[in-house]
Subunit: 412 residues, 2 copies
């Protein structure tokens, strides 16, 4: 409602930085194009664009591409586009079941992706953080050996995160409280100018879906991450809904289960007690020694087994999937009623088991959302698997470069 009037005197360096950012961001959003086209699109004059592009090339952010002929007259122009490979952002997901490290270049292509399965709660806070440090050190060494330059690291945690301070306020499924994660990782890694940021995993997953996943074409989406915990990330008008104190995302602990089932957080009736990965696996398991319950095995392998059992018509598995699917649809219908998104993106295990969960989710949404056609929401399965949050972390790390390309130094 309010309009703030600010006086912002811009010196020449500020203007230059802002124009470098404008050109680099435009190449990300609009794709490769000639200098003449960039000038026409942005309103900057051609000489300025040439000078800006030259600097971006020098910093390794932009490269020359194909020759483009615009219209039938005039000189053909050489296109320029984001440079693949050299400059990368790193995202890490600290999950209850694994640590995932993913590096993306400016074009959002995967440069490196590694996952270490582990029972993170059993490792304890100190052991878990040591594992994160080890995974990151190995990844950074590999990237450095390959000639990549890391511009930022963002760590995704299934937690209430004070992202300003890089502090984990509460991570029920890791057993962490008040963990100064960014400070500990900064100290252990010693990356100098490159600081570690920390954020909620579902929020970073939503950013990934919007930046490079199945939500690329929409500006209003809800991302639901099905893991041991269940989180949500909401994008409104292209921006992440962060809330007044940064504490969005923990939908898994909202009181959406009508039965008083006890949650890992100590409360009863949390949504997670109906739709969390633990409940799904327990419902499908044939006994306490069923390999789908083995926390040290890769989660994708265990979920493939569930899909196989469902395909084979296993009754306990199908009943569990139906029960979870309906509960997922009921909770999602509350989110859809409040937010009215264009897309509901199912992530994590919800996406892996999409074939069996989706019909129940869609049916329940149509039945329970009062807006016609459930407000026009489309249910989509993530294609990022369990790397959505770490990819989102890498996207956020790269955003610093798009905001200020001079953060990447000119090579000596």
């Amino acid at each position: 409602m309010s309009t703030r009037v600010t006086a912002a005197p811009a010196d020449q360096l500020t203007v230059r930085r802002s124009n470098l950012s404008l050109v680099l961001s435009h190449l990300r959003d609009a794709g490769p194009r000639s200098r003449a086209k960039i000038a026409a699109d942005t309103g900057l004059n051609k000489a300025t664009v040439s000078s800006l592009v030259a600097e971006l090339v020098e910093r390794g952010l932009v490269g020359e591409g194909e020759v483009e002929r615009v219209g039938s007259v005039g000189r053909p122009g050489q296109t320029v586009g984001l440079a693949p490979g050299r400059v990368v952002g790193v995202g890490v997901e600290v999950n209850a079941d694994f640590v995932d490290v993913t590096a993306l270049d400016l074009t959002h292509e995967v440069v490196l992706s590694r996952r270490a399965p582990a029972d993170m709660r059993a490792l304890g806070e100190r052991g878990a953080i040591a594992l994160v440090v080890r995974c990151l050190q190995e990844a950074l060494a590999t990237l450095s050996a390959g000639g990549s330059s890391v511009v930022g690291v963002t760590v995704a945690v299934p937690a209430l995160v004070d992202s300003g301070r890089g502090r984990v306020a509460l991570a029920p499924n890791l057993g962490w409280t008040g963990t100064e994660l960014a400070a500990q990782l900064d100290a252990a890694l010693g990356l100098g100018d490159v600081r570690v940021a920390v954020d909620n995993d579902a929020n970073l997953g939503a950013i990934a879906e919007h930046a490079l996943g199945v939500g690329r074409d929409v500006d209003d989406l809800v991302y639901l991450a099905g893991e041991v915990g269940v989180g949500c990330g909401v994008i409104v008008g292209g921006e992440l809904l962060r809330g007044s104190s940064g504490f969005t995302g923990e939908i898994g602990h909202a009181p959406l289960n009508p039965r008083p089932e006890v949650c890992g957080c100590g409360r009863v009736g949390c949504w997670e007690t109906q739709v969390g990965l633990g409940v799904l696996l327990a419902g499908c398991a044939r006994g306490p020694d069923d390999p789908v319950l083995d926390g040290d095995a890769d989660i994708d392998v265990r979920l493939d087994e569930i899909n196989a059992r469902a395909a084979a018509g296993d009754v306990a598995t199908l009943e569990t999937l139906q029960r979870v699917g309906i509960a997922l649809g009921l909770g999602a219908s509350v989110l859809v009623t409040i937010v009215n998104p264009r897309a509901l993106v199912l992530g994590g295990y919800f996406a892996v088991l999409e074939e069996h969960l989706r019909p129940f989710v869609v049916h329940t949404l149509l039945e329970r959302v009062v807006a016609p056609d459930a407000g026009g929401v489309e249910v989509r399965a993530s294609r990022l698997g369990f790397t959505a949050a770490s990819r989102g972390g890498a996207v956020v790390a790269l955003q610093q470069v798009f905001a200020d390309p001079t953060r990447v130094p000119v090579p000596a």
Copy 2:
């Protein structure tokens, strides 16, 4: 995430209009001040500000105020501020129990406020719209006689509204479906350039709380309207959350009641079946002839009776208030978990019965929201009573003038 580059060549008239809007909006947000101060605040030069203010005075939007001395040196300047009285926006609330008409001037002072109690569902769609027309005609005649100039009319409806078309898609508690309300009111009123807009009541209530109510100091709030239906309006970063197709607000029909109680919309388990006005009144009533159930009596009178019974220790009333308060807190905790607002504003009957409901709401939020201290949310009672939505309608009507002051003609 994405940055759109647009070429927007601004001709002189566009620039002038934009600067008139800037100055008028600044006077709304920052209060009366001298021309010199406006120039310093906005970065416009003093001669331009003088010319803009002269035009705003001529259009009746701005008036001269007190003499202000800035600092100890220099000439004292005469302040200018928004002109009270002459230019007004009109908001109408179509409620299940009444029609309310409120007119606000540019300073958001109430120029006119009238309420006609009526059982709107019993009147039927045609009869209800006829009553709205009659109320509006009387109000417009009074305003015209008093020398006020109406710049817009916005009608609040407890409904899913396609606000772009002014069409009520579905109003369960009025029994309307697919009602072309704006078109019908335009035809009946014949206001010429002044077109009738239609919007969801809870969304307009949220706008009112943020613009002139207990949410003025925050940019992230959730407004809950307790009436026959229950709606919510969410303000994020100062802007109303409208959703991808405009269908936010109908939280009353989200499946938040764990018991399968039947709702007026035909579904079971809607939140409204726990916290709607009808349930509250039924719980407190001493029999079918209890006057608190009389739909033709003013709702404030009936709620005063409930407050009196609670104060006198009436057991059925106190138990009902506790039951409703806890259910209100549980549903609110889902909203607070998703949105993490700075303020939760209780509106409608929730505000009238605040003394008895608030303790249960606060207790439940602290117990159920996983973020520390419920994410820092403050529970506040609206002071706008049942006029929040109509005031919000008037605020929206006035926004057109702040966006383009030339919409108000220079008097002949």
